[in-house]
């Protein structure tokens, strides 16, 4: 879709959703079509603590850490993302004059996923199969519903969870949801807003920002959330998205800056 931008905002502290929403509102008023995708891991952690739901993490054999989404955590995740983060985003967009509609994978089966029935992980130094994890990999996006809304001037706000083959919700990484949405809609650009200037040659030095980075080269920062962003970026680039950028969500006009050459462009 010509000129369409998919913007992923994270749940990390430091990124102000109101600032991002004001920027998105300005872009929409200027005629840009935008799809917003959000996660919200900080909100999930906070609500889990308030509800006394212990949070565990899984470490893959290759060392990647992710949330262990057991049944109780899946319920907390839906509460936090759909009942807290998303309403705040929708209200902020509405105040900016944007007609925004929130959709998760459960809305008209927008995001279908294949549940990971068993996840290989390392627990206490042992390799185990985790069988109660409710997360999955996106297999399809219903572009028709998104196009219907975009054509009517609506800005979709897309959230995990996705829906599995059995019709039940599964957690899905929001970066990869954003990539799948961008590919399905033939977006011109995919912008990941983070609490960092972009990809850094030296993680301790904000001035070492890389203007461009070729995926497949040695990646300077493979830790934490950035690794998954690079996986998602590869999926988007392979799917035909022309411009994929990781950029700072903490500055003024974060989306505009990312589209004007800010942050790190991935190739």
């Amino acid at each position: 879709m010509d000129g369409l931008v998919v913007v992923k905002i994270g749940g990390a502290s430091g990124v102000d959703p109101d600032g991002v929403c004001a920027d998105v509102a300005a872009l929409v008023r200027a005629g840009r079509r935008v799809v917003l995708v959000h996660g919200g891991s900080a909100a999930v952690d906070d609500l889990a603590a308030r509800l006394g739901v212990p949070q565990r993490h899984l470490v893959s054999p290759s060392g990647v850490t992710t949330r262990h989404t057991d049944a109780a955590t899946l319920r907390v995740l839906q509460l936090a993302l759909l009942g807290q983060v998303r309403p705040a985003v929708l209200a902020a967009l509405g105040r900016g004059g944007v007609r925004a509609v929130g959709l998760s994978g459960l809305d008209a089966n927008l995001l279908r996923a294949e549940r990971r029935a068993a996840v290989r992980a390392v627990v206490d130094g042992r390799r185990v199969l985790v069988r109660d994890d409710h997360s999955g990999r996106i297999t399809s996006v219903d572009g028709g519903l998104l196009r219907l809304l975009l054509a009517d001037g609506v800005t979709p706000v897309v959230s995990p969870p996705a829906v599995a083959e059995d019709g039940l919700p599964v957690n899905a990484n929001a970066d990869r949801v954003a990539a799948a949405v961008a590919v399905e809609l033939g977006a011109q650009a995919l912008v990941f807003l983070t609490a960092a200037p972009g990809l850094l040659a030296d993680p301790a030095d904000d001035a070492s920002l890389l203007a461009e980075h070729e995926l497949g080269e040695d990646t300077p920062v493979a830790g934490g959330g950035m690794a998954v962003k690079l996986v998602a970026a590869r999926e988007a680039l392979r799917g035909g998205v022309r411009s994929v950028v990781v950029s700072d969500g903490r500055v003024a006009s974060p989306v505009g800056r990312a589209l004007d050459g800010g942050g790190t462009r991935l190739r």
């Binding site: 989404t69 068993a118 290989r120």
Partner: protein, 56 residues
Amino acid sequence: MAATACPECEGSVELAESLTQNEILECPDCLSELEVVTTNPPVLALAPEMAEDWGE
């Protein structure tokens, strides 16, 4: 150290004192990945094959 038969090649797989449910062992003979399905008595089954696919 106890041992049990590999469900794939029937070779002998040695078992540590403390086994964990869903732990993955490797058969020294056929190199199959084996999942500990129950710990007492220890029962092994071929672990499902999967690509590693991560992301919250």
